[in-house]
């Protein structure tokens, strides 16, 4: 589904990603771990098309299409969803309105019929149960005055409604208490299918107790220094990231 080949990206002239290669097939969940500043969030943003990041070399194929040629909105319409680490507030725009606009833009792109208000609300209600979200949040402005947990739940709700092929969860666990973490993780787990894939970016292993990854990659200083299965996450939890420095020197040496 997604193939990243030797991806280099920089912001304001500073190189953050220094040659990432990664292949993700449908049905797989990949966890990207790593210490702060290793480039995890940058990878998520680059895949979503944030223009502040400049791709200096490399290639990204999404279902055979050159992803880097597409605008952020077209990437979304092709089926890439980014659950933001820091979801922004949009005053005056209700959650419902945002979601209805989004789903119909995506449907339009795919040549599907527009949903009317009733059809849309039926879908929305069903998906809300998935993230145990209170109905009152729907009529409120996007993320405005939401608690940290509500914002993250809202991201997962959007993901559930938009049904992406590839979802990228950028530190969705950060700032969540254990109950909210469970709700969010359960939501994500319920959305797993053989036709979709996920990239779960996280600093800590605890999220991976709920979302069991097929593969774990450790990002360090802009490179993947180690890949493995879910056991790698436990190892990291135990040893911290420091032992990887030696690994990295090995890689560079």
């Amino acid at each position: 589904m997604l193939e990243i080949k030797n991806l280099h990206a920089s912001i304001e002239g500073k190189e953050i990603l220094k040659g990432i290669s990664l292949k993700i097939n449908a049905g797989e969940v990949h966890a990207i771990m790593g210490p702060n500043g290793s480039g995890k969030s940058t990878l998520a943003q680059v895949l979503a098309g944030r223009k502040e990041y400049v791709v200096t070399s490399g290639e990204v194929l999404f279902e055979g299409k050159n992803l880097l040629d597409l605008s952020p909105e077209d990437r979304a319409r092709e089926g890439i969803f980014l659950a933001f680490q820091y979801p922004v507030e949009i005053p005056g725009v209700s959650n419902t309105n945002l979601l209805k606009t989004a789903i119909n833009e995506i449907r339009k792109y795919r040549g599907e019929e527009q949903l009317d208000a009733m059809e849309f609300l039926t879908i929305l209600k069903k998906k809300m149960k998935l993230v145990e979200m209170d109905q009152s949040l729907l009529s409120r402005a996007v993320n405005e005055g939401f608690s940290g947990g509500e914002k993250k739940r809202n991201e997962i709700l959007q993901m559930a409604v938009l049904e992406p092929k590839l979802s990228i969860l950028d530190e969705t666990d950060s700032g969540l208490d254990i109950d909210a973490l469970r709700v969010v993780a359960n939501g994500v787990t319920k959305l797993r299918s053989k036709d979709t894939a996920s990239i779960v970016v996280t600093h800590y292993q605890r999220l991976l107790n709920y979302i069991i990854p097929d593969f774990v990659h450790v990002l360090y200083n802009g490179r993947i220094v180690k890949s493995g299965t879910k056991e790698l996450a436990f190892e990291l939890e135990e040893k911290g990231y420091d032992w990887l420095k030696d690994q990295k020197e090995l890689v560079e040496g």
Partner: protein, 482 residues
């Protein structure tokens, strides 16, 4: 308003634009310049009664003693008042044979606004086919209003046929001494609308200038007077969303509203005069005085405006809350783009007891434009228990525009409760990216954000007007980011 009424009005609009209102004026136009003789000739052409001429002359003499105000946050070259012709007969617009002859840029805008082909023809001066029985529609409409005793006609007709009401109310809210532009208007106003709603009558349809005033004859100096007698209600719509071009650069209109005991007047405006080109060349100067008098107890006046046009807008629809328990409202969206300048706001003067006022102003600046909110809340000494709530928000798009807020509070009674909130925000790159990532493209993202920002004002507009206003906003802000 039911959908059949809406379509009736639309049809009527078509009809009236085609024919204009009949005028028995013979003279073509007055020579350039302004003096007493010009005013006498203007009054004579319009066959006005003597009292009207007297009033105009008094206004003119007063105007001579005034100097043009310069306190507003706007800049323009001096206006030569002697280089203007103060009267020209309604000219037939050059007739085109088909829409293919119309400026393609203008047509694109019409299409984006969702204006029907028939309406497009009307606005651009293409000959219109009579596609419906216009005479019967107009007749039904007039019959319905006159059955209820509602008077709705041009100001010229009202001066001739309803001189008692004119004598009693014209200039009673905006006297000819009020300000420079109001004095000028009183001296030389060409025409406008007049409405009188009798006691206890609820006007069953939205009254609109749209279907009465011939576009070519809207005039530089328009004068409108609306009177709601005791217990009456009227909702009045001014303007339309189609871009309006005009050869006259200076527009100085006066609107007076009067609400007697338990009466209520709702006045909605969508202003889309030609704003000038992308480089700030041309465009209308719109210096308007709008004021409502809540004369009676429990009376209510509500202004809603969506201002997107004109090179310069200088406009402060205000309420004088004279009657006890009266209330005034001002809801405004003012958009400036490119080199447009707007200095707009309101004035709420609390005189009666238990009066309340609400101000919601949403300024949007884009391009290199300047947008100022200027508002005054005045509570006089004997106005017990007055309440005011003001909310003034500014939204910036890009980093070359300006937003300014000038609130003035003058409170002379300690029982008053006054709240003022102001915010300035910017459409952030992170908001745009967030929406992009949900599949929403740049311009749609901006529209979503801007419409969300203006929601409180749009919900005050009559439904069909609100839909048009949303579209208009997106057209006005086109190309403002990127």
């Amino acid at each position: 308003m039911s959908s059949t009424e809406v379509s009736t009005i639309e049809e009527l609009a078509n009809k009236e634009y085609k024919y204009g209102f009949v005028s028995d004026i013979e003279a073509d136009s007055l020579p350039l310049g302004l003096n007493e003789e010009i005013i006498c000739r203007l009054s004579a052409i319009k066959k006005e009664p003597e009292f009207m001429l007297e009033w105009r002359l008094k206004a003119y003499r007063h105007w001579l003693t005034l100097t043009e105000p310069n306190w507003a946050n706007i800049h323009y070259d001096p206006i030569d008042y002697q280089a203007i012709s103060y009267y020209s007969a309604p000219k037939k617009k050059p007739k085109l044979d088909s829409l293919d002859e119309v400026d393609p840029e203008l047509r694109k805008t019409y299409e984006k606004l969702g204006i029907s082909l028939e309406e497009q023809k009307i606005f651009s001066g293409v000959a219109v086919d009579a596609v419906f029985d216009s005479v019967s529609v107009a007749t039904t409409f007039k019959e319905k209003l006159s059955e209820l005793g509602i008077i709705f006609c041009s100001m010229s007709e009202a001066i001739k046929n309803h001189s008692d009401l004119i004598k009693q109310y014209l200039g009673s809210v905006v006297p000819y001494t009020d300000n420079y532009f109001a004095s000028l208007n009183a001296a030389v106003f060409s025409d406008g609308s007049f409405a009188y709603i009798p006691k206890g009558v609820r006007c069953p349809m939205e009254l609109s200038t749209y279907f009465r005033i011939n576009a070519a004859n809207t005039g530089q100096f328009e004068r409108t007077l609306i009177i709601a007698d005791e217990g009456a209600y009227v909702s009045y719509l001014e303007g339309c969303t189609a871009p309006m071009r005009d050869e006259n650069q200076l527009h100085a209109a006066v609107v007076e509203l009067i609400a007697l005991d338990n009466a209520s007047v709702k006045y909605s405006t969508v202003q889309n005069w030609y704003p000038g080109d992308k480089n700030g060349k041309g465009g209308i100067y719109n210096f308007v005085t709008k004021r409502g008098l809540c004369k009676g107890v429990n009376s209510k006046i509500s202004w809603t405006q969506v201002e997107t046009g004109s090179a310069i807008t200088w406009k402060y629809p205000s309420c004088i809350l004279q009657g006890d328990n009266s209330s005034g409202e001002f809801y405004s969206v003012a958009v400036t783009n490119n080199y447009q300048q707007a200095d707009t706001g309101t004035k709420m003067v609390h005189i009666g007891k238990n009066t309340s006022s609400t101000i919601v102003s949403k300024g949007i600046s884009a391009g290199k434009s300047n947008n100022s909110y200027r508002g005054q809340v005045k509570i006089i000494k004997k106005a017990e228990n007055a309440r005011n709530f003001s909310q003034c928000d500014s939204l910036l798009i890009g980093d070359k525009c300006g937003a300014h807020t000038f609130p003035y509070l003058e409170i002379n009674n300690s029982t008053a409760q006054v709240e003022h909130e102001a915010t300035t925000s910017k459409i952030g790159d992170d908001q745009i990216f967030y929406l992009n990532q949900r599949g929403i493209a740049l311009e749609d993202a901006i529209n979503l954000i801007v419409n969300g920002y203006c929601k409180e004002v749009f919900k005050e507009l009559p439904m069909e007007f609100a839909v048009e206003a949303q579209k208009l906003l997106s057209v006005s802000l086109e190309g403002s980011v990127g």
